[in-house]
Amino acid sequence: MKMIMAVIQPHRLDAVRDALEAINVHGLTASEVKGFGQQRGHKEIYRGAEYQINYVPKVKLEIVVADDILDDAVDAIQQAARQGRVGDGKIFVWDVETTIRIRTGESGEGAV
């Protein structure tokens, strides 16, 4: 099994989910994160003083998938999240040894 960790623009979350559902990936975990990268943050001005807000709000997805659908899943995410602008985000993949479904205790690919 593989872990796909994707950092995307928050408003692409729905699109990415739909794309994953379409290829039968039904489980994922999302969190709100702050991104730092090529896309710079923004400035806010209060009472004439400038404040540099360094981070960009992003959504991080963590999706564990069986090896054989890894490529499809990564493609689905990449296409759904892509807008062609700096800040679209990144996808990272690594190996997962075990998966256990807490409710049943079953483990392995069936548990994903």
Partner: protein
């Protein structure tokens, strides 16, 4: 004694209390970081309580009962002898005590903006208690209690000198002596809740009707006009900030807008019993512009960490209104004219004198008070406490647990 006037001043007292609790509290709390929200609210409400006790204990009698040119007498110390039949200024005296008490609450509470996010709570308490007696009470006596400025015919309807100059100037002194927040100015964080700033400003505005129109101490045309010009000035100054920010930055901000509101309110305060609608508009215009550049000057150029711009918005606004009101007092434009027998220049001289002497006295007394406090209690929290935030470090609490 008029029941109708009593009715209005009972209301006005509630409105002025609303200004501090929760108005000013929210206004200031929204401007600080999330980790110092409770500390700011605590400052406001603890000041409200402590000042009330100081006021009824000795403040009222020294400020507003018969005395000499400089200070009142002791006839009402601990409010002795005050009962349901006592009358003052054509109102139940208990009401005069209460109405004025709400002024004695908000004035030191305004200073909170200068020292947020880094001061020790005990220092706030001691500074404000001493300040009420040494700065506020005498100046009230000078201007409203029949003291020397009153005798000279100074015009300060609802507290441009008494409230805004005293608090604004003293705030700056405290800010300087306390030192800036760590990381100021580059690394200071922006307001944590602009929505809260707006709610606070709104309540301040509504309450200010009680402050200014209540200062007529009657339900009459004078109160009505005070309310109207207050409203016009607030509206105008707000729009001035909007326009300046639009021109300078392209994006007019809510925090800027309501800062303009407060600037307009502070500016009209001394003038609200003297000018007509046109004067309200003109003072709003002037106050908006002057305060905008004062903020820029003090915080952004001089780099003094008067954190929430107490001097620039309140002090400068109040002084501007106090001086400029002479230009708009003419009966022809709805004003009431000058103190009896005064000319424009003469009145202007008196106004300048009032602002100047009050500012000077505020500076001297505040320096002394801060020095004493530093020695007795200490002023600043430790750097670790500052990093951690005063809410937990000093009050053991967390503002948001969502």
């Amino acid at each position: 004694m008029s029941a109708a006037d009593t009715s209005w001043i009972l209301t006005a007292t509630a409105l002025v209390l609303l200004m501090t609790l929760p108005g000013l509290g929210l206004f200031y709390a929204g401007l600080v970081q999330a980790k110092n929200v409770l500390s700011v609210l605590m400052h406001c409400i603890a000041i409200a309580c402590l000042m009330s006790l100081v006021w009824v204990g000795g403040g009222y009698t020294l400020a507003l009962t018969a005395g000499n040119d400089w200070i009142g007498g002791f006839s009402r110390i601990f409010l002795l002898g005050l009962d349901r039949d006592s009358v003052a200024s054509g109102l139940p005296e208990a009401l005069v005590v209460s109405f004025q008490m709400t002024f004695a609450i908000i004035t030191p509470a305004l200073m909170v903006g200068a020292f947020v996010e880094r001061i020790r709570f005990g220092a706030v308490m001691l500074i404000c208690a001493l300040w009420l007696i040494l700065v506020y009470v005498p100046v009230v006596h000078w201007v409203w209690g029949g003291g020397w400025l009153a005798k000279m015919g100074v015009i300060d309807f609802a507290g441009g000198i008494v409230v805004h100059v005293t608090a604004g100037v003293s705030a700056l002194v405290i800010a300087v002596m306390l030192g800036a927040r760590s990381g100021f100015p580059e690394k200071v964080l922006p307001p944590h809740a602009p929505w809260m700033v707006m709610v606070g400003a709104s309540l301040l505005w509504v309450g200010w009707f009680g402050f200014n129109a209540g200062s007529a101490l009657a339900a009459n045309g004078n109160a009505a006009m005070a309310m109207l010009v207050t409203h016009i000035s607030a509206s105008t100054a707000s729009i001035v900030w909007l326009v300046i920010e639009k021109l300078k930055f392209g994006k007019p901000s809510l925090v800027g807008f309501v800062t303009g509101t407060i600037a307009g309110l502070a500016t009209i305060t001394p003038a609200s019993g003297t000018v007509g609608p046109l004067g309200g508009f003109a003072l709003g215009l002037l106050g908006g512009v002057v305060c905008y550049f004062a903020v820029d000057l003090i915080k952004n150029r001089w780099k003094i960490d008067d954190s929430l711009d107490v001097l620039a918005v309140h002090g400068v606004g109040g002084a501007t209104g106090t001086l400029a009101l002479v230009l708009f007092a003419a009966p022809a434009i709805g004003g009431t004219g000058f103190a009896e027998g005064q000319t424009l220049l003469g009145q202007f001289g008196v106004q300048i004198l009032g602002v100047g002497v009050t500012a000077l006295w505020s500076i001297i007394a505040t320096i002394a008070i801060v020095l004493v406090t530093r020695r007795l209690i200490g002023l600043r929290v430790t750097p670790d406490e500052e990093t951690q935030g005063l809410d937990y470090a000093h009050h053991g609490e967390t503002a948001y647990r969502l």
